[in-house]
């Protein structure tokens, strides 16, 4: 292990400029989150009048006070579907990993204060991601449920004109139920407090849980509510008769516990968690005493240059994330643009793989070898993206770039220890895959707000398209007319702008190409939290069976 020496001057003009730039980006993300919360606040009066807690109040009431909370995809769906101004982003679902009665749990709180907590394609995608994490980490799931049900028009995969009434979304949402059943069978307890409406699909979501807490006077679980019932069969019934808490607790047997109000329901959910096997963390020990990095985390703001074309040394980032700023670098003299080595993060053993530029054939070989080494010792790999892709050119191809790149992708894809991804800077082309982006199924992946992800840079893409167009004219032996040239130039500009916009982290994260955007200063905490979550997995203490837990 060696201390990373820094060349960063926190008093320099560049540092100040970079820092202001990054702070602005972080501010944008926080602003989006705050706007969503402000939107929820509009519901406060109505909630208070109904004797209900706001969704986020339900969340804080559920979590052990003061314990950490990792929110996932806080603004998924930002400016997508009918989210015109960004204030209703988040997929009407607050989701994350937190502590309940001392146990780490996956938590989903249906955000009834936004669009009634209705289900659209973003909701479904978030829900499926939660289940994916549950399968991998075996964390129990607690759902504080209250949903207006499916938003038929918005259940399709976004702005999909071919599916205006959500047939595809309907099918996609079915995966949620399938996996709920499989999670139960896998020995992953699902606990739901039914705080309000749960109609049709929503009803199954509640009823497929292993534990249901009903709230007196609030829970309404039925396949068809009074209006649809009247329309379908002409039968007239009120909500309580049809699917109230008392009916389900005493007649249908659809719920196990009955609570007097929101907080009482949550208290009971906490008690249920308290009956689960003891916290896995008690069986775990860190590999070393945690040690703060030598360099302050605040300096993480000022390292990435405002111009993404200016290279920088990722060791400076590593130095501000890892314990004692110590890095045992692997093959530092070989394939130098690919940087990797062993570290400790908050006392946890880990390895880092990162880039100081394009991935060369030597870099790919080195990375693949390092991945295999770490697989052998079950060392988690942290991928810090900063690559413009695999190196191109005659020499690179002659050195077997495609072969070596494939080998690296192979090593990443089949890597068995935990994989954590942080997109720090550029993440372009196949380099994005090779560095374990969402497509290669890392356990968790997050991005810094200034990160960029795309098949290639916008300028490069525009240039490629104009070269292709020019070649077409050349093939026909023509010179393009001036107005055609002008049109081509305008088209290039449009393409460049569109690609730049869609490679922005806020755009990609809204589409859930990661688990969320993080403040660079939080990187170490996020990694530590995720590592501990994964390391705990074998110790959750619950057991699988064949068919899940069936209710009566």
């Amino acid at each position: 292990m060696g201390l990373i020496n820094t060349k960063i001057d926190p008093n320099s003009e560049d540092f100040a400029k970079n820092s202001a730039f990054m702070t602005d980006y972080v501010g944008k993300v926080r602003h989006i989150e705050q706007q969503i919360r402000k939107g929820e606040e509009k519901y406060r009066q109505r909630a208070t009048k109904a004797g209900k807690l706001l969704p986020r109040e339900r969340l804080t009431h559920l979590l052990d006070p003061g314990t950490p909370f990792l929110e996932i995809n806080s603004f998924a769906g930002y400016k997508m579907l009918d989210d015109k101004d960004g204030t209703t982003a988040g997929g009407n679902l607050i989701m994350g990993i937190g502590f309940v009665s001392g146990r780490r749990c996956l938590v989903m709180v249906w955000n009834y204060a936004i669009k009634g907590g209705t289900i659209n394609s973003v909701t479904t995608k978030k829900n499926l991601r939660l289940q994916e994490i549950a399968f991998k980490t075996r964390l129990p799931i607690i759902s504080l449920s209250e949903s207006g049900g499916g938003n038929l028009a918005k259940m399709a995969g976004g702005e999909d004109a071919s599916d205006p009434w959500g047939a595809l979304g309907f099918l996609e949402a079915g995966n949620v139920y399938c996996q709920q059943a499989q999670l139960s069978a896998a020995g992953i307890p699902q606990i739901t407090v039914s705080h309000g409406n749960a109609t049709a699909g929503g009803a199954y979501q509640v009823a497929l849980s292993d534990y249901i807490v009903l709230v007196r006077g609030q829970s309404n679980i039925f396949l068809a509510g009074p209006p649809l019932l009247k329309a379908a069969t002409g039968e007239i019934a009120d909500h309580e008769t049809l699917g109230g808490a008392e009916m389900h607790a005493s007649v249908s047997g659809t719920g196990e516990y009955i609570a007097e109000n929101d907080s009482d329901g949550i208290r009971q959910a906490r008690q249920i968690v308290d009956q689960l096997p003891p916290a896995a963390s008690r069986y775990l020990e860190r590999d070393k005493e945690p040690e703060e990095p030598v360099y302050p985390k605040e300096e993480l703001l000022g390292i990435v240059p405002t111009d993404k074309r200016i290279p920088y040394d990722m060791r400076e980032i590593v130095a501000r994330i890892v314990d004692g700023s110590n890095f045992m670098e692997f093959k530092p003299e070989f394939g130098t643009d690919t940087v990797c080595g062993h570290v400790h993060i908050d006392g946890w053993r880990a390895a880092i793989l990162t880039n100081n530029g394009p991935i060369t054939p030597h870099g790919a070989v080195k990375a693949a070898q390092f991945l295999q080494l770490c697989d052998q010792t079950n060392t988690p790999m942290i991928f810090l993206h900063n690559t413009t892709g695999f190196l191109v050119g005659v020499e690179a191809e002659r050195m077997g770039q495609v072969k070596h790149g494939s080998k690296m992708i192979q090593a990443v894809a089949n890597f068995r220890p935990p994989k954590l991804t942080v997109v720090v800077g550029n993440s372009y082309g196949a380099g994005n895959y090779a560095m374990c982006s969402a497509a290669l199924k890392p356990d968790f992946s997050f991005s810094w707000p200034s990160a960029r992800t795309a098949v290639m840079g916008g300028a490069q893409a525009a240039k490629v398209l104009s070269i292709v167009a020019e070649a077409r004219f050349a093939a026909m032996g023509q010179e393009p007319a001036p107005e055609v040239l002008a049109q081509l130039a305008k088209q290039s500009e449009l393409i460049e702008n569109a690609m730049e916009a869609s490679s922005e982290a806020i755009f990609t994260s809204s589409r859930m190409m990661d688990d969320g955007l993080i403040d660079p200063r939080d990187t170490r905490q996020v990694l530590s939290f995720c590592l501990e979550t994964i390391f705990e997995t074998p110790y959750r203490g619950t057991k699988p069976n064949s068919f899940g837990v069936a209710r009566l």
């Binding site: 926080r30 804080t60 009431h61 003061g66 314990t67 806080s74 001392g102 208290r267 969320g516 530590s528």
Partner: protein, 659 residues
């Protein structure tokens, strides 16, 4: 001079006084034996003695007040001397006699002296005979209501009724002109009978704004007697001493000599040997009247020890062993000033109700000029069986103000968590201008003082905010370095806290390590710096300070910013059913002994009517009907030991209309 050699001393007491005596016994070179009840197995006095013997179950009648068991313990261990301490059997002449009969040296005066002074009526008569000034009153044998009523009128008002056999304020009644004397006589009689086994009463003119000043005396077997200055014990609550000091700020050299000589005369008049205390009431014109003589070591003896340099227990041992007084009157000089505060497990906000429970944290102040006489340890249970006095904190200074300052600081640095204590009440007294000026009389603790004490005990919002911040450290797992961290913007959390008959909702917002606690309109900014054991360092609204706390389940005990708090985090408490409200279910307010049941099944009762009286720790708790109705069941029986919360009487709520 008789020689009375002994080698092994049994201390027939518990708590702080047993510990204090055992120390002197050890220092004097004797072997020591402790006795303990089953409830005191882990008590410090047991650990301190060379040998210890269990003398029975927790109730005092079966252990510390059981002479046979104590003599048995002496026989078993070969103890040839018994020190009775104070209270319990210390002023029991027949016990002293039994010791002598068993060939055991009783460290105290003769049974005759105890007997004489033990009865206020006879003692007073005796003192009148030998010319010691006494308060005008009646101390005759005729105890009929008729005689007492006539005598009451003769003596005049304001009037004190006292138990002849008593002490410590029990059986004592204060009457103004026009008060119902017959009723007061009846209740004083019953209290006296219950407490001392005798219902004899005496009457005395009440001296208003008097001072309670007592003289420490010592006499040896040869009849030599001296006095060791006075103690001022004017600060009393319901005739229980709270703060004592020596010398008295009121007593001049001249008065001291006069009172000292009178005390020596009292001592000689009853052929006293050992150390003792003669209590006087002194009026504003420096007239002093004999009250009583305590034929034992006093609770407040340390203040005398600090200003005279004498170890009074050591003197008791020497005198009991037949030695002459270690010093002559001329050799006794008073240097500096000492003040003692009695540290009680009682709740000033709830009529000083004795408190029971586990001591979760006991930490004595360590600054200069402080002496602690205590018999408690962390983890010990304060049981309802014994006196709620847990410790005495005594300060010494070159002058009164220094002693006062040191005691005030010492009290504030002394931490006891787990049961409520009178600590803030003690500091309130020490900070009172009347006390600072040395002008406090027995009327010092009045309604206003008690009201203030009750108000002081009510938690302020800032402390509630602090409690909320500390409560949420509870869920911290031992190795989490991510405490209070989240990757997205922090969320407010709401804590619901209950205690001291109030409820609060605290909204805690945190930003990095800074908390903003909102309670109603109040916002406090807090930061927690460190948690070391029970001590936390925090900044509140710009002031960095320290507090001591203990969290037990959902409860928090907190000593902060001059307040003692006992709060319950009810954020996750089950919803309380309100069915029991005004239900007529009368339950015991404390653990104790049922001494009176005033109703029977079928009785019509009105709201506020006393139904049952439960006695616990020297206090009678009257349990009143909380509704109008008819008694449906009575499950209390006189003589029964009841648990707190146990149902005693059930009242059927009466319909407003007649059937």
């Amino acid at each position: 001079m008789k020689n009375n050699n002994f080698t092994k001393v049994l201390v027939a007491n518990r708590g702080e006084i047993a510990v204090r005596i055992l120390k002197s016994v050890r220092d004097a070179g004797y072997r020591s034996v402790a006795v303990y009840s089953e409830a005191d197995e882990g008590a410090p006095h047991v650990a301190l003695a060379d040998e210890a013997v269990c003398i029975g179950p927790a109730p005092v009648g079966e252990s510390y007040l059981n002479p046979a068991n104590i003599l048995g313990a002496a026989a078993k261990t070969g103890a040839d001397a018994i020190h009775p301490g104070y209270g319990f059997l210390s002023e029991n002449d027949s016990f002293a006699q039994s010791c002598l009969d068993a060939g055991i040296c009783f460290i105290g005066p003769s049974p005759e002296a105890i007997l004489l002074m033990g009865n206020k009526r006879i003692a007073k008569q005796h003192m009148v005979d030998v010319g010691v000034p006494c308060i005008p009153g009646y101390q005759g044998e005729d105890q009929s209501d008729a005689t007492l009523l006539i005598e009451a009128t003769r003596v005049g008002f304001p009037l004190m009724i006292k138990a002849a056999a008593g002490g410590g304020g029990r059986g004592m009644r204060f009457l103004n002109e026009g008060d119902n004397v017959t009723e007061a006589l009846a209740s004083a009689r019953s209290e006296s009978l219950n407490a001392f086994g005798s219902d004899e009463l005496i009457l005395e003119r009440a001296i208003i704004n008097g001072r309670h000043i007592e003289i420490q005396v010592a006499a040896d077997n040869s009849g030599q007697a001296i006095y060791l200055g006075e103690r001022d014990c004017s600060i009393q609550r319901r005739h229980q001493k709270v703060i004592e000091e020596a010398p008295s700020p009121f007593v001049s050299e001249k008065l001291r000599a006069l009172m000292g000589q009178a005390a020596v005369n009292v001592t000689s008049a009853c052929h006293y040997s050992g150390v003792g205390t003669v209590e006087f009431l002194v009026d504003a014109d420096e007239n002093f009247y004999f009250l009583e003589m305590n034929t034992r070591l006093q609770v407040e003896h340390p203040v005398t020890e600090l200003i005279t340099g004498v170890d009074l227990v050591d003197w008791q041992l020497k005198i009991a062993a037949g030695e002459a007084l270690p010093a002559s009157q001329e050799e006794i000089t008073l240097t500096g000033h000492a003040i003692e505060a009695r540290f009680y497990a009682e709740d000033p906000s709830n009529n000083f109700m004795p408190q029971t429970g586990r001591i979760h944290h006991w930490e004595k102040a360590s600054s200069a000029g402080l002496r602690f006489d205590d018999g408690i340890t962390t983890g010990m249970e304060v049981s309802p069986h014994y006196d709620p006095m847990l410790a005495k904190i005594i300060s010494y200074g070159d002058n009164r103000e220094e002693a006062r300052r040191r005691l005030l600081r010492g009290l504030s640095d002394t931490k006891l968590l787990g049961v409520r204590t009178n600590k803030t009440f003690l500091t309130q007294i020490l900070e009172d201008n009347r006390f600072i000026e040395g002008a406090a009389t027995t009327a010092f603790i009045d309604e206003a003082t008690l009201e203030q004490a009750s108000t002081n005990a009510k938690p302020d919002n800032a402390n509630i905010a602090l409690a909320a911040m500390l409560l949420q450290t509870q869920s911290k797992s031992n190795d989490s370095t991510l405490w209070r961290w989240s990757n997205t913007a922090a969320m407010d959390m709401a804590l619901h806290i209950e205690g001291h008959d109030e409820k609060w909702k605290v909204s805690l917002a945190h930003e990095n390590s800074i908390f903003h606690a909102t309670i109603g309109e109040d916002v406090h900014t807090l930061q927690l710096h460190s948690l070391t054991g029970a001590c936390c360092t925090y900044t509140m609204d710009g002031i960095r300070q320290k507090a001591t706390f203990h969290i037990e389940g959902s409860e928090i005990f907190l000593d902060a910013r001059g307040q003692l708090l006992h709060l319950d985090n009810i954020t996750y408490a089950p919803i309380a059913s309100d069915e029991e409200e005004g239900s007529g279910r009368i339950t015991a307010s404390t653990e104790g002994l049922v001494i009176q049941v005033a109703v029977a099944v079928g009785d019509v009762v009105t709201k506020g009517q006393t139904l049952v009286t439960v006695e616990a720790m020297k206090m009678e708790h009257r349990l009143a009907a909380d509704v109008d109705g008819v008694v449906a069941s009575v499950s209390a029986q006189v003589g029964a030991q009841v648990k707190k919360g146990q149902l005693l009487v059930d009242i059927n709520v009466e319909n407003s209309g007649e059937d």
